[in-house]
């Protein structure tokens, strides 16, 4: 559809379907405008806050005396505040924004009950705000990933119930028999999350389990949140965006089916591998390690599927921001899983279990994989909501490279530092302080990476702000990263 004949952003299906479908789609997009923008805008605000907190955490780790006399700025409070802002503020809200938009599109119906979503977004923000405030004031529960005090957790849960019920309602209004791959993942995410969250809360706070099982439940929760909530949303989004942007159907439907069910089955059994050699029955840990190994099946099938879909279209990453971010994220899924597997093998885990490596792992999952996919989807969706195209290709490029180099550097630093730290720790002839000395330079490197990421997020937030204010370009052609005329043969 665009001048050059490169099928960017204009799916081939639409060519066949014609103008009616175009119109219908525009109509659906318009109906999602308020709720989705509300989720996105909140998410952006949390992203900026979380980024600032992250920088603070990172610097304080090697400059421990920085502002340490103020109770609510002590490292041990800012760190969980950062984590929760990112997980529940940024990642969950942005993910839900994308998921809502995709649901409306894929159900091929205008968004019903927008007020439900607006209320949910409001409650969710309130919950995160109270939770983070609670943590900073010293109300943290002490369970990692579930630090929010009870009063915040309840509000989050109420907000979430609204969203899940909306998703189920929407599903009843859907048109067409076919349920697309993306919808499997999204429906899964929408249904798994409440169960997961409720189970975590119940087993830790309402009817708490005894002793070490609290830790088991905690890691089961954290891991499943990563896979079944964030991972499912990101994979579903990638399954939509990649084919959509290059205008080509998914390579294999069967592979996708296998990928989805093995993903649901195996990745949900992981989590205990983080407790290797801890005070638990060995079968729990072994089961999770086995599940990590079996998780290579969905990784391989999903990776292969995306790769084969992209086959011959990789050059399009030069032009399409969405594609570039999404493919980066989809590739990171493979890296994330492989590294996750490596560090959970018993022989390796003995070394890295208590080091910075696990931080690298979480960032690979939540940032390199999930966040990059969501950035990609936002580059696709926001113009369709505000009716403007992104204003500056240069800012998008800057955002991409700062994010990509930032997360790459951070991962390398934490992985390398973590391995050395772990190896030192296993050498009892070295005094413990030596292990800390070893990792400190890498932590400084991580802070450097953090500066890159901070720059990326501010650039994106600024660009997003322009779009919100209606200052984007008015054009029928989407914003490409590079001028398209130069090369015409995107086809191979």
């Amino acid at each position: 559809m665009n001048a050059t004949g490169i099928p960017l952003k204009e799916p081939s299906v639409s060519a066949a379907a014609g103008a009616t479908e175009q119109l219908e789609r525009a109509y659906i997009d318009a109906s999602t405008r308020v709720p989705v923008l509300m989720f996105y805008t909140s998410a952006m605000a949390w992203l900026i806050l979380g980024t600032l907190l992250a920088g603070f955490v990172s610097f304080k780790l090697h400059e421990p005396d920085l502002l340490s006399n103020i109770s609510f700025l002590t490292w041990g409070r800012v760190r969980p505040a950062h984590m929760n802002v990112m997980v529940y503020g940024w990642a969950s809200m942005a993910g839900m924004g994308t998921a809502i938009w995709l649901m409306a599109r894929l159900c091929r119906t205008v968004l019903r009950y927008p007020l439900l979503l607006v209320a949910a977004a409001g409650f969710w923000n309130l919950g995160v705000l109270l939770g983070v405030g609670g943590i900073l004031l010293g109300d943290s529960t002490g369970y990692q990933w579930l630090e929010f005090p009870g009063y915040a957790a309840i509000i989050l849960f109420v907000a979430y119930t609204l969203i899940a019920s909306w998703a189920v309602l929407m599903f009843r209004y859907r048109r067409g028999e076919q349920i697309y791959i993306t919808q499997w993942y999204l429906l899964g995410a929408f249904l798994w999350f409440p169960w997961l969250y409720a189970a975590g809360q119940l087993m830790l706070f309402v009817v708490p389990v005894q002793g070490v099982l609290q830790s088991a439940v905690g890691w089961w929760y954290a891991n499943n949140l990563l896979f079944l909530w964030f991972g499912a949303i990101a994979l579903g989004t990638a399954y939509y965006m990649i084919p959509k942007v290059i205008g080509r159907p998914v390579y294999s439907y069967h592979l996708a089916t296998i990928g989805f069910w093995t993903y649901a089955l195996f990745s949900s059994w992981t989590g205990m591998q983080r407790l290797v050699d801890g005070p638990f029955p060995a079968w729990m840990i072994t089961a999770s390690i086995a599940a990590m190994i079996l998780s290579m099946i969905p990784v391989a099938t999903v990776g292969l599927n995306h790769h084969m879909t992209m086959q011959g279209y990789f050059p399009l990453m030069r032009y399409s921001p969405t594609l570039r971010f999404t493919v980066f994220g989809a590739m990171s899924y493979t890296v994330f899983s492989v590294i996750g597997l490596l560090i959970s093998l018993r022989s390796v885990a003995g070394y890295v279990n208590f080091s910075q490596t696990s931080i690298a792992y979480s960032h690979l999952g939540l940032y390199a994989f999930f966040t990059m996919v969501i950035f990609g989807s936002m580059y696709y969706i926001v113009p369709r909501l505000v009716g403007r195209e992104w204003r500056y290709a240069s800012l998008i490029k800057l955002h991409f490279w700062a994010s990509a180099y930032g997360i790459g550097l951070m991962t390398l630093m934490l992985l390398a530092g973590g391995f050395l730290q772990g190896a030192d720790m296993e050498n009892p002839s070295l005094p413990f302080s030596e292990t800390v000395e070893t990792v400190l330079p890498y932590l400084r490197g991580r802070s450097l990476a953090g500066i890159l990421l901070t720059a990326a997020h501010f650039i994106f937030a600024y660009h997003f702000g322009l779009m919100l204010l209606g200052l984007g370009r008015t054009s029928t052609v989407p914003t490409f990263l590079n001028p398209v005329e130069a090369e015409t043969s995107g086809g191979h």
């Binding site: 005396d65 490292w75 429906l187 070490v212 208590f354 005094p431 800390v436």
Partner: protein, 359 residues
């Protein structure tokens, strides 16, 4: 995929499988453990903890100690935890049955502290609690008879090689702490640190008072001044470079929390000064006042005292102690290699000296 039913069923089924497998089954298996006790029904371990312990755990959670300190000792085949002196046996589920939250944790930017209470100097465990407000609640101290005499001798043996000073010193401290021999890293520090510092500075006023609660442990330190601090460390816990309250005593914890780098220059632990109050000395220096030296010391006429939260936190730390043997877990150096780990628990092979919360 056609039809919603299989999709829904699959989504629920897979998740239910994981939920049952990883949380319900384990709960059935190890979710209802009881404390163990010997045939006579005495010597029960573990035991429920005091109110100060619980509040201390909340302070521990609130301030995110868990993000840097683990509380689990891995078995000897799995890591160097035991060699590092973090415990004399692996942690087991039964160790944690009364803890909530449980802080196993995943990160060691700081040391593992599953057994930090077991390291308290023996004196700490009996005399000071007498009148002291601060540590009174801490179960660690309730042990009746400090077993200083015997163990240090044992502990002494591996060490003297490194420095003669140490050989002598353990005696003073009762070295309940002692250590695996592995490496005398502390040796280098011992000469340097004790120097003159400990004797003089802040405490004198406090020491003057005869029953100075937490301060009590300053006095033994002061008398044997130079060697007091380091030898307690024992090889694997050599982290103390300066400072005078005996390592891992309540007073030491307070100084460490208030100013970590006054004790170990390389530490990157944040200071928790907001848990302490700096105030003008009223008629007499408080028995709780911290023994601070150097630039941390408050100006003349002022003192730094712990808040109630700080006292609870220290009571909590002092009570972290997994040295009691468990029937289903083998302690290192149990029978055979006693020399290897004369740590509290080995001594505790026999019931009495075990620092278990008596009473």
């Amino acid at each position: 995929m056609k039809g919603l039913a299989p999709l829904f069923l699959g989504i629920f089924g897979t998740f239910a499988f994981s939920w049952v497998g990883l949380t319900v089954l384990p709960n059935w298996q190890i979710g209802h453990l009881n404390p163990q006790s010997d045939e006579e029904g005495t010597d029960t371990y573990p035991q429920p903890q005091s109110g100060m312990f619980e509040r201390g755990a909340r302070v521990y959670a609130a301030n995110g100690c868990v993000y840097c300190h683990s509380q689990q000792v891995r078995p000897e085949y799995a890591g160097a935890d035991i060699e590092r002196g973090w415990g004399n046996r692996r942690s087991a589920p039964r160790d944690y049955i009364f803890e909530r939250p449980v802080f196993l944790a995943k990160m060691r930017m700081g040391q593992d502290i599953a057994n930090i209470g077991a390291r308290a100097p023996a004196e700490q465990q009996s005399p000071p609690p007498a009148g002291a407000a601060a540590p009174a609640g801490s179960p660690a101290q309730q042990v009746g008879s400090p077993p200083p005499g015997a163990s240090p001798a044992a502990a002494g043996s591996p060490l003297p090689a490194s420095s003669p000073a140490q050989a002598a010193s353990p005696a003073t401290q009762g070295a309940a702490v002692s250590s695996p021999p592995s490496k005398p890293a502390s040796a280098s520090q011992s000469p340097s640190s004790p120097s003159p510092k400990p004797a003089a500075p802040a405490p004198p006023t406090g020491v003057a008072s005869p029953s100075p609660g937490a301060m009590a442990n300053a006095s033994p330190g002061a008398t044997t001044a130079p060697s007091s601090a380091p030898q307690i460390a024992g090889p694997p816990w050599p982290e103390q470079t300066i400072g005078e309250p005996p390592m891992y005593s309540a007073a030491w914890h307070h100084v460490h929390l208030y100013s970590p780098r006054s004790i170990n220059l390389d530490s990157n632990m944040p200071a928790y000064r907001f848990l302490y109050e700096k105030r003008r000395i009223r008629d007499q220096r408080s028995v709780d006042a911290l023994q601070l030296t150097g630039s941390d010391a408050p100006p003349e006429g002022w003192e730094v005292i712990p808040s109630f939260d700080a006292k609870c936190l220290v009571a909590y730390l002092m009570a972290l102690n997994q040295s009691h043997p468990l029937n289903d877990v083998r302690s290192t150096g149990g029978a055979p290699a006693a020399s290897a780990a004369p740590s509290p628990a080995t001594a505790a092979g026999s019931p009495p000296p075990s620092p278990a919360p008596a009473k």
